[in-house]
Every structure is written in structure tokens, then in C-alpha cells.
Amino acid sequence: MSGDYSWLAHFDLGLNWAVIIKWLPKLAQGAILTLELVAIAVIAGLLLAIPLGIARSSRRWYVSALPYAYIFFFRGTPLLVQLFLVYYGLAQFDAVRSSFMWPYLRDPFWCATATMTLHTAAYIAEILRGAIQAIPPGEIEAARALGMSKPKTLFYIILPRASRIGLPAYSNEVILMLKASALASTVTLLELTGMARTIIARTYLPVEIFFAAGLFYLLMAYILVRGFKLLERWLRVDACQGR
């Protein structure tokens, strides 16, 4: 990029703006990878969380014990530890190294998405459990009284109802995952933070580049918040919350 940016000097915060503008395309490239990571993780995490959350809210202890242990482990340890366990840890076992999964488990992108998926699934399962338990029991009883089978009640009454109750919490989780995706830079992925660190290694201007990366994160978070607001309106979440 070229051009006369001297007018920017009036808005100078003591930052080298020309450098920021020069590296914006690279940072945008990193931001796209960040969005890819987050999108895969929160969608796959949601799919994984649905059975987990349903099992977790079961009244039978042998059904809820395993999801409970899973959720306890993934919520009780830092994402960084989980990421290192998958990316560096699995290589310790020869069985893993010789399996057909190895080409994927060796790739930082798949490691990061897999770990983030497992991590966020634990949180989403807990959100889903809260949402399922917040459904007024009368509604489920009404469905059963109308002669709906248990699976039918689950798919037509419980899940649609729980998804609306849980949506605001799910949108929070998506924002948290957007921020957590910065950790993928520690396993050599060039997402927004990783890209910023690479650029800094070349320019030695940490304040400028991290500032620009921070603006990207703020922008992405803002767009996500707006998007979820629209989704909430479309799903008429407000209208369903009358208790």
C-alpha cells in the first residue's frame, strides 16, 4: 500500500500509523483464520454438547456421571494445558503416531480446532443443562399428557425451548472462544495473535501491531454481538421468556 498518510499525524497517539496500515492486509488474513477456528469450534462444540448436555441433565447417575467428569476436567483446566496435551502430548504414544489419525493430529490447525471444540463443548453442555432445567416442568408434562413420546418431547418441546433460553449464554461463549482462539498462536498457528507476533518479530514495533490486532478483535466481537442480537430477535427469544 502506498500514498500520502501525513494527514494522519494529526491523530497520532505516538504510534507509527504507516506501519499499521502497511501490515493491515496480513493482520486481516490472520483474522480470517481466527474466524475459521472459532466458527468450526463453536459449531462442532454445539453438536457435541447436545448429547452431553442432555446426558448431564439426566436423573440417572450412571448416565450423568461420565458427562459430569468430562465437563469437570475441561472446565477445571486451562485451555493452554489442553492444547499442549493434544498437540505435544499425544505424540508420546507410538499407537497414536502410527494410526490413521496422525496426519491430522500432527497438523496444528486440526489440533487447535479439536481442542477448542472439546473445550467449548464442556461449557456449552453446562449452558444447555441449565437451559433444560429452566424449562417449566408443566410444559414437558403437557407434552407427555398430549401423548407425545419421550424422543418427540425432546425434539419438539425441550430442545427448541432450551435453545431459546440458552442462546444469550451461548453468544457469550462464542465471544469467549473468539478470545481463547488467541492461544492457537502457541502451537505455531498464524491466526490474528500469531500473525501479530510474526510481524513484530520483523518490525520490532509491538505496541503498534498489538494495538491493530486488538482493534481487529474488538471489531469481530462487536459484529458477533450484533449478529446474535439479530438472531435473538429472529427467534423471538424475548417473547419466549415470559415466566
Binding site: G76, P78, Y88, F93, A182, P206, V207, F210, G214
Partner: protein
């Protein structure tokens, strides 16, 4: 599996101590920042409201890891300039100090919202009673609002502290010798990544359980004299 972790057991224990130290120091800074943020946000003075809002929005929108890196690497020039002014050109932020500032900043931004909610939850009549008794604004805050606020804010702050404790792992990225850093050193020597990171994971789980128990005790203590009717 080797029981003393190939001689790295004591180092990991020392790392755990460092993690706890970092978490507690950052907690202190975060509580101060959160309280200041909440006071700014609930004040009647517009610029202060705006400042509090900007603090909590901007800090919460940027990843913790980015704050850690920004504060550690971004303050090098500033610290050098400060150091030269005071005649000590080698002045720089240690990894511990950078970690405390970064994690405290993030904790404070979330705590701002928790404290604000707690302040708003206190009935208006209590403040008015203070005014009627002729207490100063400062007195009203320290004697009327603060003691009642803690009970309401405690569960939220507890959740934030759990998050803070897990975020301490991020400070290993700038080289602070806490649990993760020691685990990584162990891995480079022994080539047993799974063993070491699993041990680290269980250490964090242990710390989380410890914090949960403490919080449960604190919440019970803070709620003494209150019937659990309003949930």
C-alpha cells in the same frame, strides 16, 4: 511412569506456588480496578461513566493473551525511558509484574460489571438513610454500601477468580516459571509431554477444587443471617 517425575516434582510444586502467588496478586489489583471501574460507571459524572464503560468494553473485547504480550513487550521502551529518567537504564517489567498487570486488568474489567450489579442491587433507601443521618459520601460507601455489596458480588467474583487462575497459564508464554513453564522444561528434558502436561492439568484441577471449597465457605459466611428465600 516415574513417581517423582524424573526429578521434576519439586520444580512443579514450586511452579504451583508461583501460580498461586500470581493469581492472588492479580486478584488484589483486579479487585481495586473493578471497584474503581464500578464506582466510575455508577457515578453521576458523565466523563467518569464514559471512562468506566470504555475500560470494561475495551479490555473485555481483547484476548487475555494479547494483553499479556502487549504489556510485557509493549512497555519495554516506556520502561527504559522511565529508567533513564531515574538513572537506571536497565529498568524493565519482570514477567511476574507484567502478568499481574495483564491479568489484574482483565479481572478488573469483568469485576467492574459484577460490582456495578451489586451496587445497583442495594436498595436506594439505604443510601438515603445514610444521607438523612448526615453521613459523608465516603462514609456512606465504606459503611453502608461496601459491607452489603460483598455478599451480592461474591459468587460472581468467585467465578472470575476461577477464570483468573486458569489464565495464569498464559503468563508461561512470557517465561514466568509457573506450573506450565516447569512442565515445558520437564518435557524438553524427558520427552514425555503427555505425562507432564497431564500432571499440570491435575495440578490446575486441584487448585480449582481448592478455590471452589474456599469460595463455598466464604459465601456461606457472607450469607449468614440471610434466609435463602430470594435465591
Amino acid at each position: 511412569m516415574n513417581f517423582d517425575l524424573y526429578g521434576f516434582g519439586p520444580a512443579l510444586a514450586a511452579g504451583a506456588l508461583m501460580t498461586v502467588k500470581l493469581a492472588l496478586t492479580a486478584l488484589c489489583l483486579g479487585l481495586v480496578l473493578g471497584l474503581a471501574g464500578a464506582l466510575a460507571k455508577t457515578s453521576t459524572y458523565k466523563p467518569l461513566q464514559w471512562l468506566g464503560g470504555a475500560y470494561s468494553t475495551v479490555v473485555r473485547g481483547i484476548p487475555e493473551l494479547l494483553w499479556v504480550l502487549l504489556i510485557y513487550f509493549g512497555t519495554v521502551n516506556m520502561m527504559r525511558a522511565l529508567g533513564e529518567f531515574f538513572g537506571n537504564p536497565d529498568l524493565s517489567l519482570s514477567a511476574f509484574a507484567a502478568g499481574v498487570i495483564a491479568l489484574g486488568l482483565c479481572f478488573g474489567a469483568y469485576a467492574t460489571e459484577v460490582f456495578r450489579g451489586a451496587i445497583l442491587a442495594i436498595p436506594k433507601g439505604h443510601r438515603e438513610a445514610g444521607v438523612a443521618l448526615g453521613l459523608s459520601k465516603f462514609r456512606i460507601f465504606t459503611r453502608l454500601i461496601m459491607p452489603q455489596m460483598w455478599r451480592i458480588a461474591l459468587p460472581g467474583l468467585g467465578n472470575l477468580f476461577m477464570i483468573l487462575m486458569k489464565d495464569t497459564a498464559l503468563v508461561s508464554v512470557i517465561g514466568l516459571e509457573e506450573i506450565m513453564r516447569h512442565a515445558q522444561i520437564g518435557v524438553t528434558v524427558t520427552k514425555q509431554p503427555f505425562t507432564f502436561f497431564m500432571v499440570a492439568a491435575f495440578m490446575y484441577l486441584g487448585l480449582t477444587v481448592l478455590a471452589m471449597t474456599t469460595l463455598h465457605f466464604l459465601e456461606k459466611r457472607a450469607a449468614r443471617g440471610f434466609a435463602r428465600s430470594t435465591q
